[in-house]
Symmetry: C2
Subunit: 196 residues, 2 copies
DNA sequence: CATAAAAATGAACAATGTTCACTATTTGAC
DNA sequence: GTCAAATAGTGAACATTGTTCATTTTTATG
């Protein structure tokens, strides 16, 4: 079937999204300005709207990619590690590392909110479920007798706590901790929460 | 000295800030639109700029009030409680309660970021220090032999973990937990982190 | 009362998201 | 191969919003 049109459409969508990602990386979500993005991608303003309903939808697409990248990093990080506690610690370090290296992407992921009444994209729901699963697996090994519901809750708690540590460590309002103390506290958290 | 001028100036500043707070409560920080605020407060656009450098400064002023309110709630909550563990649990519940009751204020506090290069207001630094102190005091009682530095780090960790639980519980992307499970997990977190 | 200082106003400007009538290109049927 | 329909792409025009500033109104002071 239709070859050229489909290819063109996909390339446009891809290049617009890539431009948006670069914009967020460079200047946060405020830098995702339609004219800028269009010019950067090599198209006109209207073409952006052909592929993304509006600015929020475009940023949401960036967030989807961000979630994928976090998942990739986590997956790679625990590859070859057997000990479940080491897995959890590695996941924690990887999560912090990502937030530090890609601060603007990470902040945008958690501070961009769709207008009221707009549904959260499926890709985001799925992305967070996958994230939690990375934590659930080693946690299950450490606590084999947790019920399914309790494991789900505990998984969320562990991830949330880690997320909070990372969040606050990036907040300028809170006086920063030295890097090595940060690692020590993260490991403290994981050990306390993962223990039987 | 100048009576009427000073009084007028202060009242204007107060009414503008109150209008901004109401706007955030009703519609989040996107609702802080200068024309709206000015009209709501009963002044012209220019008068808003007489008292607040720009939109970001006005929102930052709202955040200062939010921090004060959180501190007030926390202070009231632990009044009369002796047991340090109970104090920590009460603080946790109070923090979650505030975030739920004043969701838009709370979200704005943690998602509004000043443009690069703008210094964080002193009131915010002080506010977060005070918040942490509420946690530090009972934590010190439970772990009397922690060094000052370690206590500071652990305090941050406890607060951050709690903050993460609250954050994620408000994120639509993450499937929600029933209210009672939420409380159980929060208590679990506090017990694990506060224990010797 | 007269002059200076401060408070308040709102028109004007700039930046930005969004729409839509229009052009160019591609597709598919004959 | 031609042509009509469908799709991709364009950019001017509009609406909204943050911000500035010359001007007016009110207050303080000698």
């Amino acid at each position: 079937m239709s070859g050229i049109q489909r290819a063109k459409s996909e390339e446009t969508q891809r290049r617009v999204l890539e431009a948006a990602i670069r914009a967020v990386e460079a200047g946060g979500m405020e830098a995702v300005q339609i004219r800028r993005i269009a010019a950067e991608a090599g198209y006109s303003v209207g073409s952006v709207y052909k592929h993304y309903e509006d600015q929020d939808a475009l940023i949401a697409a960036v967030d989807t990619v961000t979630l994928e990248r976090i998942k990739t990093d986590m997956s790679n990080a625990i590859e070859g590690i057997e000990d479940p506690l080491k897995q959890l610690k590695t996941l924690a370090r990887t999560y912090l590392e990502f937030a530090r290296r890609h601060r603007n992407l990470w902040v945008t992921l958690f501070t961009h909110h769709l207008p009221d009444g707009r549904p959260v994209p499926d890709s985001h729901i799925q992305g967070t479920v996958d994230l939690l699963t990375y934590v659930a697996v080693p946690l299950k090994k450490l606590n084999p007798d947790l019920t399914e519901d309790l494991l789900a809750a505990r998984t969320r708690t562990c991830f949330s706590a880690l997320h909070g540590l990372v969040s606050i460590s990036l907040e300028e309002r809170f006086v920063g901790l030295p890097g090595d103390e940060m690692d020590r506290e993260m490991m403290f958290l994981v050990e306390r929460l993962a223990a039987k």
